[in-house]
Symmetry: C2
Subunit: 349 residues, 2 copies
DNA sequence: ATTTTAAACTAAATCGATTAAATTACTCTG
DNA sequence: CAGAGTAATTTAATCGATTTAGTTTAAAAT
C-alpha cells in the first residue's frame, strides 16, 4: 500500500465553528481574546478554546495579513549574509525583532542595486512592514522612492548625505583617524591603505580619516599609496595591491586595511610573502573579526559595535511601525580601538 | 504643513480593471500569461499589460498565496545563523532556492527544541511549503510529526537513525577516523579530544571515529581524555577542558577538536598557556574556517563541503515540492582533510 | 431561418481570517 | 404591557487574488 496523501487538512476557524455549531465570528473573537469585550459567555468561550487546542488550530497568517494589513514581518537586506559582520547582525536583529513580535526576512544584495531593487519589490509583494537596509552603491533612487512611498526603513552601515532618513552607522572618520594616527605615532611616514567602494559614504569617511591623520602628522598624502581593490576580482586584487605596496619601489612598511575582508586576505598575502608582523610590516584594520585575536601577532583593529547597530536599527524601526516615532533618527555609534601587537610594542605618550 | 500620509495606495487588479472598464478576471488572466489560452484579444491584453506597468502593479502575495495555496517560500532552520558554517550555507541556500523561484526564510534554533517547535509553527502559519532543518537534540518527536503531516523537509548536518527522512550530512566517522589516524601516525599515544552534544548523531560519529582510530593504532581509549564541553557555559568550559588535558597529570600533547567553534577558542587558550603548536601540542580540528589558514601555524583540519550541502538540500527539497521526487534521499558527502602544519612537519608513509 | 459553434469576456465562488452592523431573546422599567 | 436596555450571538462585507462556470455576441453550418 503506497503512501496516500494523508492530507491532514489544517484546521481553520470554520472547522472549529462547525464542530461547535457556532459562528466563525464568535470563534475568531474568542481566539483573539476579545471574548469579554464582546460579551461572549464564558461557557462557550471555554468550549472554543478547548476545541481550538484539540484541533491544534493555527491561524493562517496569509489570511490574517490580507485582512488586517499587518504581517508583523520586517525585512533585513544586507550586502551578504555569509559575511560574518552581517551574519552576526542578522542574529541580533532576529532576536531583538522577536521581542516585539516581528519576524525578520533576510536577503543579500551583493552590493548590486539591481538585486536590491528586485528584493525590495519581492518583500513588498509579501507585505513586509518595514526594512533594515545596508544600501548599495547606486541605490539612492531606490531608497528615495521607498521614502516617498512612506514605507518605514532604517539604513545601517551606510547612508546618503543628501537624503534625510533613519540610519545607524559608526563614526568611520573618527575610527579611521585614530587607527592611522596610531601608526604615525609609531613613526611610520609611508602608510599604505587598501580601500574598496570608495564611493560609499562610510568608505569615503574612512579614506578621509586616513588623509586627515596623515596631514595632522605632517605627512603628505600620496594617492599611489591607496590600493583600490576590485570587488569582482576580490582575492587577486587584494594580493596584487598588497604586493605592489610592500615591494619596491614603494617599500611600504605600514598598512591600514579599511575592511576585515580585505585584511584577512591581505594578511594571508603578507604571510606568503614571508613578511613578519610587525617587524617587517605594521598592520591595523577596520573591523575586528575573531580571527584577529588569534593571529601569531594579534591584530590591532577597530571594533564596530555590531550588536548595538542591530539593536538600535530594530528599535528605531519598531518605534516607527508602532508610530511612536518622533521624527527621523540618525545614530552614529562610537567604535572601539583594540590595540594589540601588530604595530609593534612601543608605548607612546 | 505636516506630512500627510500620502498613502500611495498599492495598485490591485481591481484598480487596473476599473481603469480599463474590464473585469478583474480578464486582468488576472492576462497578467498570468494566460491571455492566449483564454482567447483574450491581443488589443485588450496589450492594454492591460500597459496599464499594469503604468500603475506599477505588484501582485499581493498574501492574497495569491491564500487563494492558490502556494507561497513559493521555504524555511531554513539552523542552530545559529551567526555561526559561520550556517551563515555560509544560508547564502548558498538563498541563491540556489532563488533559481527555482523560492524565497527562503531563516531562523536560529539555538540547539533548543522548544525554540525549534515555536519556529516550525510560526513558519507553518506563514505557509512555507517546505523546510531545511538542522535538528536539535530532543527534536525527534517534532520531526516525526512533520513527517506525519506530509510536510516536505530535508535534514542537514544531523539526522535520526531511527527515522526515515531526507538528509544531507557528511561522513563524520570517516573524517574523524582520518584526522585521529593522522595524529597516531605521528606517533602520539595520548590523544585528547573536545566533544560537545555527544548525543547528536554527527557528534557521536565523530567520537566513534576517534575511538576506532585509536583502537586501530593499538591505543586504549581513555574516557578521561574526552573533554565534554558545556554549551551553556561555552567559553569557560572549553578553557577548562583544554587546561585539564594539557596540564598534569594528563600532559596530553595532541588534541582533536570536534568542531571549529571549540577549536578557535581552544587555540586561544593554548596560546594563552604559551604552548606552541605543533612543538608543544599537535592540533587537528573538524571544520575549516578561514581562521585556520591564518594561524601562525596553519591548522590541519577537516573541511566540510558547505556549499554542496546547501545545494543538495535545496535540490532535494525542490524535487519534492515539484513532486519530481522518487522517494527519500539520503546523501552522505565526503569531507576533505586539509593537512597543514599544526601536527608537525614529519612526512609519513 | 434556425441551430451550432467559436470567440471574447464576466459573474461569482473561494481561500481564511477580521470586524462593523444587525439580530435575537430576554429582562427591566414606568 | 409597550418600549428600552442589554447580553449573546450572527450576518455579511472585506482584504486581493485565482478559477470555474457561465453569458453574450457574432459568425458558421445546416
Amino acid at each position: 500500500m503506497k503512501s496516500q496523501d494523508n492530507n491532514h487538512k489544517v484546521t481553520s476557524l470554520q472547522d472549529i465553528a462547525k464542530k461547535l455549531g457556532v459562528s466563525v465570528t464568535l470563534v475568531s473573537l474568542v481566539l483573539n481574546g476579545k471574548a469579554k469585550q464582546s460579551r461572549i459567555s464564558d461557557k462557550i468561550a471555554e468550549k472554543v478554546l478547548l476545541m481550538a487546542k484539540e484541533l491544534n488550530y493555527r491561524p493562517n497568517q496569509l489570511a490574517r495579513g490580507l485582512r488586517t494589513g499587518k504581517t508583523n514581518t520586517i525585512a533585513f537586506i544586507m550586502a551578504d549574509i555569509s559575511n560574518i559582520f552581517f551574519a552576526r547582525m542578522a542574529r541580533v536583529v532576529e532576536d531583538e525583532a522577536e521581542k516585539y513580535g516581528y519576524k525578520v526576512m533576510f536577503g543579500s544584495s551583493d552590493e548590486n542595486p539591481v538585486k536590491l531593487e528586485r528584493m525590495l519589490n519581492m518583500f513588498l509583494e509579501r507585505k513586509v512592514e518595514g526594512f533594515i537596509i545596508s544600501p548599495t552603491l547606486g541605490s539612492l533612487k531606490l531608497i528615495r522612492q521607498l521614502k516617498e512611498k512612506n514605507i518605514p526603513f532604517v539604513l545601517i552601515d551606510r547612508f546618503f548625505r543628501n537624503l534625510d532618513t533613519n540610519y545607524v552607522v559608526v563614526d568611520n572618520f573618527d575610527a579611521s583617524y585614530k587607527a592611522v594616527s596610531h601608526l604615525t605615532k609609531f613613526g611610520y611616514k609611508k602608510i599604505g591603505t587598501l580601500s574598496i567602494f570608495p564611493e560609499l559614504t562610510q568608505m569615503n569617511d574612512r579614506l578621509n580619516g586616513y588623509k586627515d591623520a596623515l596631514s595632522d602628522a605632517g605627512i603628505r598624502f600620496e594617492n599611489k599609496y591607496v590600493g583600490k581593490v576590485d570587488f569582482e576580482n576580490f582575492r587577486e586584487s587584494v594580493y596584487e595591491n598588497v604586493r605592489k605596496l610592500l615591494m619596491p619601489p614603494y617599500n611600504i612598511r605600514a598598512l591600514y586595511f579599511q575592511t576585515c575582508i580585505m585584511g584577512i586576505v591581505g594578511l594571508e598575502c603578507i604571510r606568503e610573502m614571508k613578511f613578519r608582523v610587525p617587524l617587517d610590516v605594521a598592520v591595523v584594520s577596520f573591523d575586528d573579526p575573531a580571527e584577529y585575536k588569534l593571529f601569531e601577532t594579534p591584530v590591532t583593529a577597530i571594533k564596530q559595535p555590531i550588536d548595538e547597530i542591530g539593536l538600535k536599527a530594530v528599535n528605531i524601526l519598531v518605534d516607527e511601525l508602532k508610530s511612536k516615532s518622533s521624527g527621523l533618527q540618525k545614530v552614529v555609534l562610537p567604535t572601539r580601538f583594540m590595540v594589540r601587537r601588530s604595530c609593534g610594542n612601543l608605548r607612546y605618550g
